[in-house]
Amino acid sequence: MAEVATPVPQVPVVEEAVSEVGQISQWSLMRLRFQRNKLAMTGLIGLIIMYFLCFFGPFVSPNEYTLQNTNYIFGSPTQFTFIGPDGHFSLRPYVYSTTTVLDQSTFNFVVKVDKTKKLPVQFFVKGDPYTMLGFIHSDIHLFGVALPQRIYMAGADAIGRDMFARTLVGGQISMTVGLVGVIMSIVFGSILGTISGYYMGLADDVIQRIIEVIMSFPTIPLWAALAAALPPVSESFTALDRYFLITVVLSFVGWTGLARQLRAKVMAYRSADFCQAAIAAGATDSRIIFVHMLPNAASHIIVTGALAVPGMILGETALSFLGLGILPPMVSWGALLKDAQQVSVILQHPWIMLPGVAVVITVLLFCFLGDGVRDAMDPYSI
């Protein structure tokens, strides 16, 4: 436990005995320890890339995510080649031209790849208009080919929408829902946990019983029941409202664990010398809580929060997969995976599992990051 007594002004600090390490502040020591952890840095850098891709998704993906291409229903991912039309290797990738024809025997539309016609991939190309981050209006895409041909990095779904674009845009919700939910859990959990541990008595009893009740429900069924109570998206209830309330539902369960741990911490600090000294000096309750207790518990709160993010992301994915969380036309990874419920569909069109791959990668990166943060903050724990 990293218990650091806050310096009391009256006691002279012994300067000469401080070693090299002691010169560095606690926080930069943690940062150094974190930077030395390769797995944790992988998590951090990977997540930064993922967030960047998702939030600039409309620009990164060659197609607009709601565009329905009826000629490309369940179309497979576009094939790339680095052999140019002249038969020589070129740095610029090429794609084959495709046409949609009616199969005379099965009467299904099938996509035919014309191996003789190669189209150069262009960068910063004009394409579908889009709005990015709510205020950037543009029609420039990072890469693409000349219309009417299109690039589908990860194929298309049942009504011919670009899976790659949808996965990137879906990440905007899936990758933030966990963070917002955790921040809300931290706020609720810190307030209630501190009250419970500091004031004890009746407040403590009530809060502990509430936590016990919430913990005695299995998580996903409870989340599902709460999410089912949310009204559908309409004029008076916007998509943003629903998103926000889903995070509230997720943190309704999430705060309990943190509140319990914080209660134990606060109780331990209460009997510690530095708090007793503050009480004896006549400090107010709020000063003791905000100046003496919470800063000491900060590293613990951050660690608990970092380790809780993956669970929240998985929770949102499960809820949306069940059709109770984020609902179409909003896109999130869970909502996209709802289309992949039948084995036969997955077998024929494996690329519709791309959002699932994105979930797994994101959760893994968050696990690495969380473990790294814990090791950096709390060097004595296992």
Partner: protein, 327 residues
Amino acid sequence: MLNYIIRRLGYMFITLIIVAVLGYVIIELPPGSYVQSEVDRLRQMGGNLTQGQIDSLYRRYGLDKPEYVRFWLWISHFVVGDFGEAFAYNMPVSTLIWSRLGLTLVFSLLSLVFSWVAAIAMGVYSATHRYTIPDYIITVLQFIGLAVPNFLLALVLMVFAQNVFHMQVGGLQSSQFQNAPFSLPKFLDLLNHMWIPIIVIGASGTAWLSRVMRANLLDVLNMQYVQTARAKGLNENVVVWKHAFRNAIHPLIMVLGSSLPGIISGETIVALVLSLPTTGPLYFNALISKDMYLAGAFLVFLAIALLIGNLGADILLAWVDPRIRYE
């Protein structure tokens, strides 16, 4: 010990009452009752309902009474085994619920046993063979178990089983055994359908528990008394299993209670994907169609199952660790 159990039962009873209240609140939470949507449906079919008919519908389900009266009606019927009507199925909730709840418990218990056996085996092996290739493989498996949502794992395993083994996955019985009388082949077929759900439900628990087990055992193996045991010339197996393991298992029993919610909630969602006849599919469908008496009864019963499980875990812990009994 008896004292401890009685006190623990007292706490459980209080929690149970609050669980029932919360369960009722959740039943009442969704906007628009089932009766309202029933009225809308009848109107759409062309029948013009008079206000009197609507009122009688409301009266039939007691929707005209104030909240606390309705709560009392619900809870007093609940205790004697009348959980209300499942509107969408037009039959009492109690006839729908029992067989499915039983199967949920069977799957949850088997998954629990599986995750414990697998976690202990994996944890002990990777702790005693630290920094070898199998240890790294186990670490990778643990991360996958934690990071892959269990419904996705179920889907992937289904695709895999169908593609590679040409096995028909999903449900509890193959179609040819559906109505057959009980026999050995039918039983084997049942087992054949049960292992995938059990692995999938237990996966994340296994990953987490085996990490805890590995860390604990590593701690204990560094203790001096383990060194003493080795120095005495004891067999390494005896050192690990008799001296170290017994002291490392304690935290695992402590988290038994908190691993139960994960297993039960995992069971409900995996059952939906694998179309098992347990609570999961019925519960989520009830939520989507706002069949709230059915959903509420399921939720309360899942919570009760969890409370009983927690009670069992606490008693087990008190039995293992005398300090808790005399607290």
